[in-house]
């Protein structure tokens, strides 16, 4: 078989050594549970396999996408692929033997450092699965450190459904309640939040940019409310936005979660890379892997996984999380991408996320029957758009033009959601044309 080839003579010698004539004799499985059927899968050559899988994938059409909603595309430079595909990185295991895995440990240390710089918080782990599970872990962290004061997680009423569903699963076991607080005019309604929050709240969450693409303008006040009620203040954001935004630590964030995979990830149907950072006070309650600097016997700086007594393989049912395999290779890719960008490139990319959606909204707003953006305030990558027609009809007709946009429910209305980044900004013409063409069609 393709990757498990003993020659006949080697196989014979090995069988002799273990004293059987057929490897099947080594299987100590009762006959009653032996599998005597087949899976029905043919064997394929490497070439056939590539053709088959690529043929299936090609069943999806090419489209110009303006989708966002938690999955964002930025151009990933070629060096990220080439370096991260080096087999010493790609095919290595978790760094349980640090003496021969210094390279990956150092890369993860550089990733953690990036997150610390972006968030202002003292501790960052070297990845959780995605922003939704990061929020789930934040809820569990709050439960561990603030269980005495309360057992409710408070999230804005515009928390994306998909994140909410994940959060519900994470909070189900310990019986943590999840409740929402109101947003208005596209951002957190601080007054309403002040009404809603109480001492039962262990974690208060707010995101910037939020689901509507709006950058929250009053997170100081939100942080103060959390502090007033001894709740942890958890801010959601992403690695590109944070490069220009005020570091969350400065306005009182205890935890920052979000999407680190806006950098470095292969452009695909979905991968995730959750960002997780918190104040040093909670160091021994952090979920997931941490890399720390130490020294080796020769007195040289060396890196190692550290504080492993928090983890499942040591602490078992009392671990801070069940996470084991995380997203290390993707964290490596983020570290490479961020290094390639440097602080100039990273902040320029962030600025493009501001300017691109602003320009697109200006152009769409100028069309008859469209109003963009729906909400005031600065936007980042995304915005909601009002349309005279049913949003679903607009989506369907864009689709026929090869343009993918989404309809979302927002404040009881069906609205269009549009996302513009560096990789589709040059295609805004196609979007505007598709929207304008619809008007012409419907006018006929």
């Amino acid at each position: 078989m393709p990757y498990a080839t003993h020659s006949d003579s080697e196989r014979s010698a090995m069988l002799d050594a273990v004293g059987v004539s057929d490897p099947d004799a080594l299987f100590d499985i009762p006959e009653s549970v032996r599998f005597d059927g087949d899976y029905g899968i043919d064997t394929h050559s490497e070439r056939e396999t590539r053709a088959a899988v690529e043929g299936i994938l090609d069943e999806s059409p090419d489209m110009t996408e303006f989708l966002g909603g938690g999955h964002y595309d930025h151009y990933v430079p070629s060096v990220v692929d080439h370096l991260s595909l080096r087999s010493e990185f790609l095919t290595s295991y978790t760094q349980y033997q640090p003496e021969i895995t210094q390279g990956f440990l150092q890369a993860l240390f550089e990733f953690q450092s990036l997150v610390v710089e972006l968030t202002g918080l003292g501790v960052a782990n070297c990845s959780v699965y995605d922003r939704a599970t990061a929020l789930g872990e934040a809820a569990l962290l709050a439960d561990r450190v603030r269980a005495s004061s309360g057992e409710t997680v408070l999230v804005p009423d515009d928390l994306p459904d998909r994140m909410r569903s994940v959060l519900d699963n994470y909070t189900d076991g310990p019986g943590i309640g999840v409740d929402t607080y109101p947003t208005s005019e596209g951002t957190v309604d601080v007054d309403a939040l002040a009404e809603r929050i109480d001492d039962e709240v262990s974690l208060l969450y707010a995101a910037t940019p939020n689901r509507r693409g709006v950058l929250e303008s009053d997170l100081d006040a939100v942080g103060d409310l959390a502090a007033d009620h001894d709740a942890l203040f958890c801010v959601g954001s992403d690695a590109v936005a944070l490069s220009v935004l005020e570091p969350p630590e400065s306005y009182g964030a205890d935890v920052v979660v979000g999407d680190a995979g806006v950098l470095g990830l292969p452009t695909t149907y979905g991968m995730g890379l959750g960002l997780f950072a918190c104040r040093e006070d909670f160091l021994r309650q952090v979920p997931g892997r941490l890399v720390g600097a130490s020294e080796d016997d020769a007195g040289n700086r060396a890196y190692t996984l550290t504080l492993q007594t928090r983890e499942q393989h040591i602490r078992r049912e009392r671990a801070t999380s069940n996470i084991c395999t995380n997203q290390a290779w993707l964290a490596l890719r983020v570290a490479i991408h961020a290094a390639w960008l440097g602080p100039d490139g990273l902040t320029e990319l962030a600025e493009e996320c501001v300017a691109g959606i602003r320009e697109a909204c200006d152009r769409i707003d100028a069309l008859d029957g469209f109003s963009a953006p729906v909400h005031d305030g600065p936007h980042f990558r995304e915005a909601l758009i009002d349309t005279d027609e049913p949003a679903a009809a607009v989506v369907e007709r864009c689709r026929e033009a090869g343009v993918a946009v989404r309809a979302v429910e927002d404040g009881g209305e069906e609205r269009l959601a549009v996302c513009v980044t560096d990789t589709n900004r040059e295609n805004v013409d196609a979007l505007v044309d598709a929207l304008a063409a619809e008007r012409e069609v419907s006018a006929v």
Binding site: M1, V18, S87, T91, Y93, E99, N169, Y269, Q308, T325
Partner: protein, 458 residues
């Protein structure tokens, strides 16, 4: 050769000038600012300070560190993967087709009725499976509070059960290293939600009483969970569903050879029997009567465990791996994995107390197993998992996998045996030939320095 941090090579502080309102933006940002050639050299150098499966054998028990076929990376790079997850079903038929096929294929391999591909890792699969089982019990009005886990189980089993809100009941092993059936009888009750098992277990031993075990748990109204970490020994030979398991997870990054990536991404799909299928996460994918593919929410779905699909590229690579092998190749995988483990064990001087084992075995070092591991590093090989499972003294838990040649197994055995000859004192002086000498773990934990900010000007 020591490689500085990028921040020590060339950092730059930029003043952030943004079109955003001043009160929203930071004043400055300090990050490394290398040019591309320096980025390339830095990470090339770091890679040279790292050990992957193409550097040599990595016989870590229960980790299934097998060769990762290169072509799966090309399949993953194919432009057809570049589809946004929020496209409408009709605009992503290729993606849904693959998801549907992979769901069915894994169900067949596991002997299960339905599969969700969503959990982004093995532990996430465990958590998902437990949540599904809990939802099933809840739907039956059945309030159960305990999950039973054998002492030799993976740490994630305990942690996942606990995370789902269950009390964990630990089950002792018998003198043969297997589940003590009497103890199980005593442990099960109306409170038993699940028994979690891996089979073969972490000693590589098949639980021959699995049918009896399943009856005991089922008779008490509990469910059986199969930890798929050791599935590499069963391909073509046995299926968890046929043994009575109700829920299982697959570690695609183990059995189906997607690269471990230094600790992820993996993917931990779960399979379930028909009774549990309505509780699986949403969305599921199915083929319609007219040959299209569509997503749907299972009737009593627990919802989501990941915002999107988990790690899509892992799914693609695993699918390609399965298609490449086919039935014949997959059965050969397990046969060779088991042959290789048995052959290696026959060649090493350390005692292997339990058997007959399958794709992995646990040897007992006559010295500190951690020291043995460090000494093996000097022989150019990666050591086995050490000091676990604790049922074996100074355990060396060893899984060579099927992709090792006889020659590399002989080399690995020679490394074991050379270390077995060493004095205990010499062992503590190792490793000598690695990038770093032995690392002070205690001070790393005592004085945590977790970012370049913490290193200051040292």
């Amino acid at each position: 050769r020591y490689e500085p941090l990028l921040s020590e090579k060339r950092s730059k502080t930029v003043t952030v000038e943004s079109s955003l309102p001043d009160d929203l933006t930071r004043d400055e940002l300090t990050l490394p600012a290398p040019a591309e050639p320096e980025v390339a050299r830095h990470y090339t150098r770091l890679s040279q300070m790292n050990f992957g499966i193409e550097s040599g054998t990595i016989p870590l028990g229960s980790c299934t560190m097998k060769y990762n076929p290169k072509f799966t990376e090309d399949v993953a790079a194919h432009p057809g993967n570049r589809v946004h997850p929020l496209r409408a079903d009709g605009d992503k038929q290729g993606i849904l087709h693959l998801l549907s096929d992979l769901q069915e294929t894994l169900a067949t391999i596991g002997g299960m009725d339905a599969v969700t591909l969503q959990p982004p890792a093995g532990a996430a699969g465990e958590f998902t499976g437990i949540q599904v089982a809990k939802a099933y019990h809840d739907a039956n009005g059945d309030d159960r509070s305990e999950v039973i886990v054998p002492e030799s189980a993976h740490g994630t089993n305990f942690a996942s059960a606990s995370m789902a809100g269950y009390d964990v009941v630990e089950l002792p092993s018998n003198e043969n290293g297997r589940v003590e059936v009497d103890a199980l009888e005593a442990a099960v009750s109306d409170d038993t939600a699940l028994l979690m098992l891996t089979n073969p277990n972490t000693l590589g031993l098949f639980e021959r009483s699995i049918e009896e075990i399943a009856d005991i748990v089922h008779d008490a109204g509990g469910l059986l969970y199969y930890d798929g970490a050791n599935l590499n020994s069963l391909l073509g030979k046995a299926r968890p569903g046929d043994m009575g398991f109700d829920v299982m997870h697959f570690n695609l990054h183990k059995t189906f050879a997607t690269p471990h990536g230094g600790g992820g991404p993996g993917q931990g799909p779960i399979g379930v029997g028909a009774d549990l299928a309505p509780f699986l996460p949403t969305p599921q994918v199915r083929e319609t009567d007219d040959g299209e593919y569509e997503t749907y929410a299972p009737e009593h779905s627990i919802g989501r465990v990941h915002e999107f699909v988990g790690n899509w590229l892992v799914l693609v690579k695993a699918y390609a791996y399965i298609l490449r092998h086919g039935d014949e190749g997959l059965e050969n995988v397990s046969e060779t994995a088991v042959l290789n483990a048995n052959y290696l064990a026959s060649r090493i001087d350390y005692e292997v107390p339990y058997g007959p084992f399958h794709h992995e075995f646990v040897a007992s070092a006559d010295a500190d197993a951690g020291d043995v591991a460090k000494s093996m590093l000097d022989r150019g090989v990666h050591p086995p998992t050490t000091k676990w499972p604790e049922i074996v003294d100074e355990a060396l838990m060893t899984e060579p996998t099927e992709t090792e040649s006889k020659a590399s197994l002989d080399d690995l055995a020679a490394a074991f045996n050379a270390v077995a000859e060493m004095d205990a004192d010499d062992l503590t002086e190792t490793p000598r030939t690695t990038t770093a000498r032995r690392i002070d773990q205690a001070s790393a934990a005592r004085n945590p320095r977790l970012s370049w900010h913490a290193l200051g000007d040292e």
